[in-house]
Each structure stands twice: as structure tokens, then as C-alpha cells.
Amino acid sequence: MGSAIAVSPSSTIYKGKSGQWAFVLHRITGFLVFVFILLHVVDVATVNSPHIYNQIHQLYGNVFLRLFEVGLLFALLYHALNGLRVIMIDFFPSAIKNEKAVFFSMLGLAVLLTIVGGVIILRPFFTGSVH
């Protein structure tokens, strides 16, 4: 059967339940957090040239980058909380039984904390204190 080929899974999406999407979201948010760390390393590396450093940080004050930061906050929170969920699954059998409930609590907590953090991050645009 030399001509057998592997079917591309991209043609249809496998209908996994919350666990599959928890895994996918964990990968995506992990990548985003990694990109954020790279960006952060670059901006901190410019600290010896205050001119560039200040320019970069002024750029971060831009509304789009602030919104991006809210997204990053969610990515960070989700990745951290789902990471705790995975650790719970690894160590406590009861977490396996309640895996879905644990997932939705963690997701809910991540969304809630993102809203709180988002309000703080975006407040300057509502109070008009943006320069």
C-alpha cells in the first residue's frame, strides 16, 4: 500500500468538547505570551538610550496597543489559570472528574480579571487623561 496518504485534518474540524478547545487556547495564548516576552526584552534593552525607550513607551500608550495589552492580559491569565487546571488534573483525580467545571471556572475567572484589568488599562481613554 505504498500510495496510501495521510488525510489532512484541515478539511473538517474535529468536534472535540471543552477539553480540546482548552488545549488549543492554551497553545495560542502560550505563543502570544512568548511574543510579549520577546517584545518586552526588546523594549527593556533600550533602557540605556532614554530617547528610544521613551518613544517606545509612548507608542505603547496608543489606544490600539493598549487594546493589544488587554488581549495579552487575557492570554496571560488564561494560560496561567489553565496551567493550574492541567496541574490539578495531573495530581488530583477529582479534578479529572470535574474537568469541565474546572475549565469553565478558570475561563470565567480569566475573563473577569481581564475585564477588571482592562478597565484599569483603558481608563485614561475614558477619563481623557491621554496626552
Binding site: 488525510v7 472535540g16 468538547k17
Partner: protein, 249 residues
Amino acid sequence: MTTTMNPVSVSPAVPAEVSVHLRVKRYNPEADTRPHWQDFTVQALPSDTVLNVLHKVKWTQDGTLSFRRSCAHGVCGSDAMVINGENKLGCINLISTVGTDLTIEPIRGLPVIKDLIVDMEPFFAQYRSVLPYLITDDDPGYKERLQSQEERERFDDTTKCILCACCTTSCPVYWANGSYVGPAAIVNAHRFIFDSRDQAASERLDILNQKSGVWRCRTSFNCTEACPRGISVTKAVEEVKRAILYDRV
């Protein structure tokens, strides 16, 4: 008082046939360079299984449609397929539960030979790699190897496996990395690791402690959702992980 009997209500209800629409992912290695979809419509009873419907297509419409089946009663594990996006056995899922609009594909992560038939050899090689048989050093002579009910209960869940590959081919890690032994192999290792009569638990734990072993598992629970035997697959994988971690069965 006379009772008029309505013949319609008295005769045993004859279930009406329904029109079932199938979309099957087909691949013929002698003619096709890549898989394609083909549509079929057949009349079937709501109590018919997906396998019955595939048989109707094969026997009355297109004899070239290829799929595996043996017992047709959910025991042999031959007819695992992706039905409407989920790994299921064709023989134990009724039209009344899966619906009349069906999308059927071969299971993922294994090379397709033809239509719904995949090459199961990588899957069975992974199964064999975990030494899925009783290993003992002692010879009990002409006596049985006794076991308490509690000791038997310890691995009862994982004895149910029929090697249909529903779990392994639902695993996102397995789709991306075919060298991962996969949940089915781990389930069958679990069946002997936690068997009080077996003496090769540490050997199997060493095999599963390798790069392609249990640590590839990312607990997506697709295996547990897919298992037609209702095995708590993720739970079994986690028990093997902990046995390795704590070096204790």
C-alpha cells in the same frame, strides 16, 4: 356499547423510513491523487445504525465504497470512523441519535488505504510496544493466580478496550506527532501495570516514561469523549503518569 376499532391505531406502528443524506470522504489509491467528498442519499429506519446505512450504499448504490466491519455489534472495534466530526463506531450509533445528515470520514492520524479504511499497523505497533500481556517470573504450577476483588477492580476500567483506535485518533497530539504511543497503548499498559498478578510494571513504566510516552499527553480529553466503551481514558493516562512520578503502582 360497541367499540369501533381504528385499524391504524391497532396495527403495530410501522416506523417510517427516513431519507438519510451522507457525505463520505473517499479516496481510491488507484485513481485519486487526493481524497474527495461524495454524496449519497438512502432510505433508512431511524433504528438503523450508521453501518446499516453504509451497507445500503455499498449494496445498492456504489459497490466500490470501502469500509471495515466485522461483528457489527460494537465488540470487534473494526468500524471506527469520524461521524459528524467525532470519532464513533458506525455499528452502535443509530440514525435516530446521530441525525439524517451525516458527514463520514476515515479516522485521523493514520494513513488512508482506501475510503474509510486506514492502515492500523502504526497503531498496533504502538500497542505492542507497551508489552500488553501478562509477564511473570514465578510459576504457580497447576494453581490459579489468585486475586482479590479489590485487586481486580483496580484495573477493571481498562480491560474494556476493544482497540478500535477511537481514542488514539481523536488525540490532537497524535495527529501532529505519530510517534506518540497514544491513549490506546497507555490504556492497555495500564491494564497490566495495575494488575496484581503481573510483574513487569516497572518495565512498562520505563517504556512509557520515554519521550514518546505518557508525557506527550496534554489532557485534551478527546480520548475520554470518544471512547465507545466509556473508559475514562484520561484518568488511566494520569494514573500511569503518577505511577511513574511517584515510582509506585
